[in-house]
Subunit: 435 residues, 2 copies
């Protein structure tokens, strides 16, 4: 029931008009990247495939639909038997995308495919928004480790998805335990200000934490006075203190003074982690400071100013009355679309870097997914679900790991200007080409 | 497991240091409203109470925590028995809030309460972000009905929460079926462009829809040519056509011409609904156009530029070694907090409108929740969960209805300038007062 009512009413009307079974191709794409961004990142695919596999209408749902007269009884029967038996192809999770990149293609009868619109878009729009922002943060951190800690700044289930998306683009860990359990993302976290204030002194709090978690823990030193907090931390934990965390204040100057004090006290091996309202710009601004790792919250889980990716789910081709496939497209003033199945290929320049997203259209429009012309580029389409069966290697923890590896590989294909934080045009131009 | 690792490690360390059971008061507040907003809206409370009631660690979760050595075996035993047995008080769902309003207070032993931090904030931060934006849209619509249709632009579970939050502040319906089933929000929706394109002509599509859903349905007329779409819609559905929907184009001029054409064709009773990338400003700009209802998506579910409310969860008071309660507060440079339990009262000016959020501090700090001084104001605190038992009237569909009524009532207390869309200061000033 994570879907919009109009999907069910369309199924209802299509069953009645005899068009529900027409072979259809739906395509997911974004008309543009978030303003100023150089590239987008596809995320959520593995999570989506699991949700599609489980997408059903149970007795409670059917009873509610009947009670509320949402659809006819014929449609209720159809929904009771529903499971998606079509084929989904698209960009590998972790892949980059650009304006009009055909990220995902759903092939099935119309009714089967139209039911998935909201679920597909909810997952891809949110997860890709986080991944796109997170990938820039990873670049800005220049090799220093990043931890995701934004669970409290987004819906409680979106938090798990955000942790997963951030890990795919190179974050090292998350605070979110469910993301650890469901998706194998490494988890981290030690203590908050509340723990210090629970105790009768900062020293007692630090002692309790070190006894429970060992000297290699991270002590939060900015509850009362940072300078004194650092001294207390070193006195309690000794030279083996893992790290100190700073969650407030003017980090650029604070970090330098904390580093000096730690070194003076003989704790040159103790790291400094900062977690104060960071985004990609703040991370970049700290490049010259002796920060060892970053924790990022709000800006990460809200896509750093762009909380939705603007992806849409459009019918691009469907069976005509004679059984052949007909490309279709919205034609009125704005939001016009390109009909027909697309075959995307990433082409490379003389320097070996990605230069063009060539989207071929107009070739074979049957459901066989004809390979796009080679042209020396990289075919961007992989099978994700075939006849209702999800590709196992895309699922669960293994899928997350595969997406993470894929992202590293494809990021290396981008030209250098793709990694500038300043607003600019997409790093790779998209060109629609007729086959 | 919808929680952060540091909450469990704090419990672990507190159990070891003997402080886990210290009576504690945690407070939820926002240091500021989203920039330029005149008021905030508390949402998510009823949903949160249900999640807190069900917050447990099952066998699978405990096994994962043990495997990953997150906490000691003593802590695992404690978690296995966990259920929240404390008391939660706070602002009624649908209530308005201002900077530093003490929105929610959690009273329990430290370990019991600290475990809820992430869940409490995830729910309140997201739901309140949506409600705050949605309430402005309702004002901007000046009595015209609004429908929430942003499910595809946020995480699939956040979508349900967003539909619920929008309904609480006055939206009339949602596209999201699960929000209908779980929370009793009226659902709506008829067809997308895909349905028109599935058929061999617009006329066939309209005919199929009218046969299935009746002439009172809403026909989407902008797939090909709006003028022709309107004529076809009227020809197919007749004078009883319920509404036409416009999802693209320059709405201000388009709506006027569609209204004229409908009237010329004798369909003066056919309504016009618009759904094209609306936010509160676009809705206000359409005030003079003959629009009958609005559908809002992206900007609603992403808080119209402010996707997280910035609420925090802070320990403000806890039991000392002698058993008395001790106010506590973070004291370092930035993010300083005010210790001690708060007693908020809304005070009214000579014109009868809300003028001041008086937050009394320093009185009784035990767990009895002493009433704040009357002073002619409205006490803002209601019981939400007492000794682990949620207030039934706050839950489920009834809770949503109560929150919706409450929002209407309290909104009427605000001065007129609170409803200006332009950026400005909070409509009600917050003042911390010593008791």
């Amino acid at each position: 029931m994570l879907t919009d009512r109009y999907e069910l009413t369309m199924v209802d009307a299509a069953l009645r008009s005899g068009t529900a079974g027409r072979a259809s191709v739906f395509e997911v794409f974004a008309r543009s990247l978030p303003a100023g961004r150089r590239y987008g990142v596809v995320a959520g695919t593995g999570r989506l495939l699991e949700l599609v596999s489980r997408f059903r209408f149970g007795d409670a749902e059917l009873a509610w639909l009947a009670e509320n007269a949402v659809v006819s009884s014929r449609t209720l029967d159809w929904l009771a038997d529903y499971r998606f038996t079509g084929t989904i192809r698209g960009y590998h999770e972790g892949e980059l995308y650009f304006p009009d990149s055909p990220i995902l293609t759903v092939e099935s009868g119309f009714a089967e495919g139209v039911l998935l619109e909201t679920l597909v878009l909810s997952v891809l729009n949110y997860d890709s928004a986080v991944a796109g922002a997170a990938s820039r943060m990873v670049s800005a951190a220049r090799g220093r480790p990043l931890a995701e800690m934004g669970s409290r700044r987004t819906g409680e289930r979106s938090a798990v998805a955000a942790a997963r998306a951030a890990y795919i683009v190179g974050f090292g860990a998350t605070s979110n335990l469910e993301a650890g359990r469901s998706w194998g993302v490494p988890t981290m976290g030690t203590a908050a200000h509340a723990f210090t204030m629970l105790h009768d002194s900062e020293e007692e709090a630090f002692r309790a934490q070190v006894e429970a978690l060992g000297a290699s823990t991270t002590l939060l030193v900015d509850t009362y006075d940072v300078a004194r907090g650092v001294e207390t931390a070193v006195r309690v934990a000794g030279p083996g203190l893992g790290a100190v965390r700073l969650d407030s204040g003017d980090l650029l100057t604070l970090v330098a003074s904390v580093r000096r004090r730690l070194d003076e006290l003989g704790n040159s091996g103790t790291r400094i982690t900062v977690t104060n309202d960071l985004d990609e710009y703040a991370i970049a601004a700290l490049a010259a400071a002796p920060v060892d790792s970053y924790g990022v919250g709000t800006s990460l889980v809200t896509g750093s100013g762009h909380p939705a990716s603007g992806m849409v789910y459009k019918l691009v081709s469907r069976e005509g009355p004679d059984g052949s496939m007909v490309p279709v497209a919205k034609r009125s003033a704005s939001k016009a679309t390109h009909g027909g199945r697309k075959h995307p290929v990433r082409l490379f320049g003389a320097d070996g870097r990605a230069a063009l997203e060539a989207v071929y259209v107009g070739g074979s429009d049957d459901a066989s997914g004809a390979a796009a012309p080679a042209a020396g580029g990289r075919d961007l389409v992989v099978p994700l679900m075939v006849d209702g069966e999800a590709e196992q290697r895309m699922l669960g923890v293994a899928g997350v790991q595969a997406a993470r590896r894929h992202h590293t590989q494809v990021l290396a294909e981008l030209p250098d200007q793709a990694f500038r934080l300043a607003a600019g045009d997409p790093a790779v131009r998209t060109e629609l080409r007729q086959l």
